[in-house]
Symmetry: C2
């Protein structure tokens, strides 16, 4: 075994700063940030460039492709605005400007706000609205899962840089801290954004649409939650220009807010379980159960597997799958892998 | 070390049927089924009853409490119906029966359908609607995450029983198969339910509300997606009785459908990564990196940890946490845990 600087990257905190930052960026996924691929594959990247082509290509595929979502959104809105502009005579209600109304109608439909101030008035437009609301919902879902994460992570990296420069704290420590409090931080950012959107919406409705404060607040709530009774909506041209941007960001931000609350809730429960697993007394029965190779003692790795399994982080299925590969690789059946196994495996 | 039947429960498939079934039931969580606590703790339960009280109480707390969600929902709807009945004179629009309209209004609000056929007509009712839409959204989110899982799992267990009786296949095999295809199966069940709800809604609107087929389909789409323009809605007493049940199940089912698509998508990606990690060639560099105790060879447990880390199932943080406990427990600093360590640890 060659003895170079890759020595125990598994247990040491040997990731460099760029890798840590990358890891931070990559670990994000809508539903399963814990099980989603992290860049723990990365360590090998800098040390042995030639072996990492598959890693890189896999991650390019798995990455949240923010740009792609933005393009989808732009195409959807463009197509929507064009189509509903072409059939504008088959839509009835409060109208201002042709193409603006079409875009406004597309957004009110895709976000499921559905005020009803503009409604389809023919079979064609009704069916079009049906098609647009389903595809719009899917697209909004996709956007919710990707868009704000992007913003939050950009901001996190800036924060890390700032802390690193000003407080001279080791960046590893900061990053670990950030990772732990990530959900709380995201929730805070989104809550702040929501407050800004609420205030902006209310002020706009009072000054431009001339609603009283309670009505403006009511219209803001009704819109952001996608309730959209439609008794109060954006009826002026200026109002609709504002609405086009404000409705889209508002509804997405609120959806995200709820998502992060759910995520935080899961994390808190998960942490409670981890804490319980780590503090409960280890008995001789545990040692027997953890003794994977049945040699009468429990090594560090065996103990780690046993505990992580108890925490529910890994399942028996995960372990069995890897064990199958291990047995195939262990050509000399020694119960351990050594460079000689690798050589033997490659020669056969 | 006593030599009883607990021998290697970690790697053998020694969970009995009840435990497997329990595991199946417990593994469900909205966002993080993989990282959510599974009952991998259960193995010790049957073999050493006296040590498992903490396990049981932890899981009672962590379980999705379906009943509790149902109670919340009933209380919410009860309070909503009562309050909006009391302020019925401050709500304008198409009215049928006092308490029915109040319940209908509560449901149209909480699901964010917001037709606008009934709208608040005073500052008080407007603010009430704001309060109800936010709390309703949270409750619907909670319901989406719990309710249908319950139904699906009930059905799965029935299916397992049926297959076990009729085909005489080992239940372990069936359960593993079910676990793997669970998301696909759930998606299928929810899709089927959605078709039923679509058909029922359309037929009802055609026969009772006297809409033409396209209008009925349009109203169904507009409602289930929570778009609710409000140009077509339930205006008769019979219609509103139907709507009360149909809107709630329809919107929740569609939300679940989208959720399962997202889940399936994540699972497919995750599987691709697992496959890649398991099929890529193991090099000497990997062996060095996986050699946790630096003894020059890689044991089974070390290999499992290395691969699971590469799959992103566990993080460095997870490992470090458990390693800390290991080091504390390894009183004689032998690098392994044995019954003597436990005895030493307890005596100090």
């Amino acid at each position: 075994m060659t003895n170079n600087n890759v020595k125990e990257p598994l247990l040491s905190g040997s990731l460099n700063e760029t890798q840590k930052a990358k890891r931070l960026l990559n670990k994000r996924r809508l539903n399963r940030s814990r099980s989603a691929p992290s860049t723990d594959l990365v360590p090998s990247e800098t040390q042995c460039k030639e072996t990492t082509h598959p890693t890189t290509s896999i991650f390019q595929n798995l990455h949240p492709n923010y740009k792609r979502v933005a393009i989808y959104l732009a195409v959807y809105l463009g197509v929507g605005a064009l189509i509903f502009f072409l059939v504008r005579d088959q839509i009835k209600g409060t109208k201002t400007d042709g193409i603006l109304d079409a875009l406004y109608f597309t957004i009110v439909t895709m976000t499921t706000v559905g005020y009803g101030d503009l409604v389809p008035d023919s079979h064609l437009t009704k069916l079009l609205a049906c098609a647009f609301v389903f595809s719009g919902m899917a697209l909004i879902g996709l956007t919710v899962s990707k868009a704000a994460d992007y913003l939050v992570e950009k901001q996190e990296l800036l924060l890390v840089k700032a802390m690193h420069v000003h407080q001279k704290v080791g960046s590893t420590g900061i990053l670990r801290e950030l990772e732990t409090n990530k959900t709380r931080y995201k929730l805070f950012v989104v809550f702040f954004l929501l407050l800004v959107l609420f205030t902006a919406g209310t002020i706009f409705l009072v000054t431009v649409e001339k609603l009283d404060v309670i009505d403006a607040f009511y219209c803001v709530c009704s819109t952001i939650t996608t309730l959209g009774y439609g008794d109060k909506s954006f009826s002026t041209q200026a109002g609709r220009i504002f609405a086009v941007f404000w409705i889209l960001t508002g509804t997405i931000t609120l959806a995200q807010f709820f998502l992060y609350i759910a995520e935080l809730n899961t994390e808190i429960r998960q942490k409670e379980l981890v804490k319980w697993v780590l503090t409960r007394k280890v008995t001789n029965l545990d040692l027997e159960a953890a003794d994977l190779d049945e040699d009468g003692t429990v090594g560090a790795a065996e103990f780690v597997i046993y505990k992580l399994k108890e925490m529910g982080k890994i399942s028996q299925e995960d372990i069995s799958l890897v064990m199958q590969e291990f047995e195939q690789l262990d050509v000399d059946d020694s119960g351990t892998l050594s460079p000689s196994d690798i050589t033997l495996a490659q020669s056969t």
